[in-house]
Symmetry: C2
Subunit: 158 residues, 2 copies
DNA sequence: CTAGCTGCAAATATTTTGCATCGGA
DNA sequence: TCCGATGCAAAATATTTGCAGCTAG
């Protein structure tokens, strides 16, 4: 890696960390060493690390951090929209309908709803580039959000 | 439900079950009561049931079936392409890159690769219909297949 | 027969929670 | 000071595996 690249990356990382701090403050989430280090780890990685992997990496800087803090932090970051969770909730669900369709998954209760493409909509375009990685067997498009039932339930609580 | 609808559905179900049997034979998978019942359950459900839910439903017909048989059967059905797994592997992974992109996930080793949309490709179209279910927060498009490394490894074994 | 399937039990793997303490704002 | 965050230990959830007997082909 060239030195100026290093500098650029470092600059960009610093800027992202600052933005992250600001976001935390705006949401009255405290800026802790653990959070910063977890964010830095994720921001620098291209490997889509698991919670375990983040834990292992952060531990090198903060040897006392615990795995459950990593889980809690990742969850709060996801909620804040700072990180993206690849491949949803922990519980697998199965569908025998093989006609092309998508799913709306509730981020709260985990319920899954079928969504069919609009008539006339172009079908999913598989990027050519993907063949660099391997052979594609199928595609999975899900939209995530909060279902009406959970929204109603959340409203009542208040 | 109207009688003729029932008949139609029953007919269609029977046809699907027959096709399933044929597929099993062609792959030298044995046609067992357990497999048939699991397939029927899935084919009739629109609820995207979890392994537990399938287990509970099948148990009504086959009280002695075990949960691990359900897991094993669902896995083999997925491999045969008869059912689709909603929301991938059991281990969550995280991504701090929020620019629009997709993922190629290896169904064998679980590795995740970034895939960027082709320049000029139309952006993802969210079906209007989706608003019936709730409020969409984000979308997740993944392509599943076997990565080059796993393909090479599988080739060597033989 | 016999290779593949099943049930049972036990082991793993992953994620979540209660609680006392600590530390940022 | 005060409330949110952390670490520890334990629990809860979800999935997988070894093995001996059973069964479809």
């Amino acid at each position: 890696m060239y030195p100026h690249e290093q500098t650029e990356n470092t600059k960009e990382l610093k800027a992202r960390v600052e933005a992250f701090k600001a976001l935390c403050r705006s949401r009255s989430l405290r800026v802790t060493e653990q959070r910063l280090e977890i964010f830095r780890t994720l921001a620098q990685s291209k490997a889509h690390p698991s919670a375990e992997a983040v834990f292992a990496a952060v531990r090198k800087k903060l040897p006392n951090i615990s795995l459950d803090t990593v889980y809690r932090t990742l969850a709060s970051m996801e909620e804040a929209g700072v990180v993206f969770r690849v491949g949803l909730s922990t519980k697998a669900r199965f569908d025998a309908d093989l006609t092309p369709h998508y799913h709306f998954v509730c981020m709260d209760c985990g319920e899954v709803y079928d969504v069919f493409p609009q008539p006339g909509a172009p079908s999913l375009l598989v990027p050519q580039d993907i063949n660099r990685f391997g052979e594609v067997k199928n595609a999975n498009l899900q939209f995530r959000g909060i279902c009406n039932r959970c929204r109603a339930a959340a409203g009542k609580e208040k």
